[in-house]
């Protein structure tokens, strides 16, 4: 009885998070469809999807911190989905650049990829995140064993690359970059602090089944 209601609750929460994380996409599609994005909808869509990608990466990093510090376990329980959504928005962001800004003009695509430091950083972030998406299944988790969590530490360099990608695009406002940098610093500091704690506690945490 208790088990069933737990499962139901989990299912319900899962649907809730899924809906919330799909909402930004639906919203921007709606705005585009109803012509509410102004004279340059391409740029609006690209910026918006990129912003959500980095926000969801940060949210993924929040999962374990929230569990450890605030005993809020809901993010950790759904970390796989949150992480996959982050990757999904990164891919949508890239697709929007290629389609709406560059019109799939191969010469422009190649030039952007080879000449622009911020684009190279963004692509590097995507390259690091892709294997994490691929190995996010239970099967891969089992197959890789302890190496799985080592591999998934790639989210740290990926997030930092994404942040740098955004910082290099700043023209005049530093507000968003400051907020994201602050949050990422906070989350990384918490991890450094945690790692200094006794090894025993750390290994206990690691052995807990990831749900």
């Amino acid at each position: 009885m208790v088990l069933v209601s737990d499962a139901l609750t989990k299912r319900f929460v899962w649907s809730g998070i899924f809906t919330l994380m799909t909402a930004p996409l639906i919203w921007v599609v709606y705005l585009a469809y109803t012509n509410q994005l102004g004279a340059d909808p391409a740029k609006e869509i690209v910026d918006d999807l990129g912003q959500w990608a980095i926000r969801f990466l940060i949210l993924t990093l929040c999962a374990s911190t929230f569990s450890r510090r605030l005993h809020i376990r809901v993010l950790l329980q759904h970390r796989r989905m949150i992480g996959l959504f982050a990757l999904f928005y990164v891919l949508l962001h890239l697709f929007a650049v290629a389609t709406f800004i560059l019109g799939w003009r191969v010469d422009l695509l190649i030039r952007e990829l080879t000449d622009r430091p911020y684009i190279m950083l963004g692509m590097a972030a995507l390259l690091l995140l892709t294997p994490l998406g691929v190995t996010s299944t239970k099967g891969w988790q089992k197959k890789l064993g302890r190496r799985w969590s080592t591999l998934h530490k790639l989210i740290y360099p990926a997030t930092l690359l994404a942040l740098l990608h955004l910082v290099l695009l700043i023209r005049a406002s530093t507000l968003e970059a400051i907020v994201y940098s602050f949050l990422i610093c906070l989350l990384l500091t918490e991890r450094l602090y945690k790692n200094r704690k006794s090894k025993k506690r750390k290994s206990e945490l690691r052995r807990k089944p990831l749900t």
């Binding site: 102004g38 004279a39 340059d40 909808p41 869509i45 003009r105 422009l108 030039r111 005049a172 507000l175």
Partner: protein, 330 residues
């Protein structure tokens, strides 16, 4: 890599004034036949039907606008009125493109005073109305290329900067001209932002020969009416062969100088923005390419990517820069 050579604007693309004027007389004729008494006889470019506000402007300006004639045009599709007045970089009102439209509607632009200063015969503070008393307003349809690699085609109303400079009689020491935008944090929320990297007020400058070039204009209107506040009312510069940031808005000071003035974007990031800022497809911005541009409004699945042309297609200004290395003087 295959990067298309900038295509030249054919002289055949530029509509001769006589043809343009005859088109207008045809329109005028049609107007009479149709009995459309409300249609103005001069038939300047008018806004397409739009739900957005119109900007008739102050009483003293209206007759000047109404008697304007079209003197420059390009054979390219105009950017629609709605895009021109809602998509603006005017950081004094915020960093998003729609911020100026949303936040500038109560910006007071009449009465307006402009200080004429520096190496000039009669420095002083002038009412805009008096400053413009002797100039004739023209309509000029110019391409407008932003440093952010988007572009528009805009029907400005204004006059040659040269005609004003001649009235003001600068001294022989005047080698440059500097422009300053209003600084008024009460009215301009962007100037109150803590996260802006810009040192207000916004300032820009031109070399004297650039300022005297017949293409360089001071604009007081757009689309057959007064300048909307978000587009830089009541007085802004338009230099069509330079990136848009040179075309400073809401000017309150014009100073004639012996030395090269600073300009805001060069002060903010000098490795990215120079003094000259001529449109140049061969000199990339350090962070993005300037070889192509997107003509706005953009359509999602068919982005209107066009090749950027040297001096934005205004090749007649090339002699101004003879012998200069434009990759150094960007």
């Amino acid at each position: 890599m295959l990067i298309g050579k900038p295509s030249k604007i054919l002289s055949s693309e530029i509509t001769p004034e006589s043809v343009y004027l005859s088109r207008r007389s045809l329109l005028k004729g049609l107007g009479v036949v149709a009995g459309a008494a409300s249609m103005p006889a001069y038939a300047l470019t008018q806004p397409q039907s739009s739900d957005l506000p119109l900007y008739p402007g102050p009483d003293w300006l209206r007759p000047k606008l109404d008697s304007a004639k079209t003197t420059w045009t390009v054979n390219e599709e105009l950017t629609p009125y709605d895009s021109v007045i809602t998509y603006n970089n005017f950081y004094e009102f915020g960093l998003n493109k729609e911020d100026p439209y949303e936040r500038a509607q109560n910006f007071k632009t009449d009465p307006w005073q402009v200080e004429i200063a520096g190496e000039v015969e009669r420095p002083g503070v002038y009412n805009l109305e008096d400053l413009l008393a002797k100039v004739d307003i023209e309509e000029r349809i110019y391409r407008f290329r932003c440093v952010e690699a988007w572009s528009m085609v805009i029907p400005w109303l204004g006059f040659s900067l040269a005609s004003l400079i001649k009235q003001l009689n600068p001294t022989s020491k005047a080698k440059y001209i500097e422009f300053v935008t209003l600084e008024d944090p009460e009215q301009m929320p962007g100037q109150r932002s803590l996260f802006s990297t810009i040192d207000w007020p916004y300032r820009e400058g031109l070399r004297m020969d650039e300022a005297m070039h017949p293409l360089t204009m001071l604009a007081v209107g757009v689309y057959g009416q007064a300048m909307p506040p978000q587009n830089g009312a009541p007085l802004r510069l338009v230099v069509p062969w330079k990136y848009g940031f040179k075309s400073i808005k809401s000017v309150v000071q014009i100073r004639f100088r012996e030395t090269m003035p600073q300009n805001t974007w060069r002060l903010t990031a000098s490795q990215e923005y120079g003094f000259y800022a001529n449109v140049n497809p061969n000199v990339d911005h350090p962070r993005w390419s300037q070889a192509t541009e997107r003509r706005l409004p953009s359509s999602l699945f068919n982005p209107r990517i066009i090749e950027t042309t040297m001096f934005n297609g205004y090749e007649e200004v090339a002699p101004l820069y003879a012998g200069m290395d434009l990759s150094k003087w960007y």
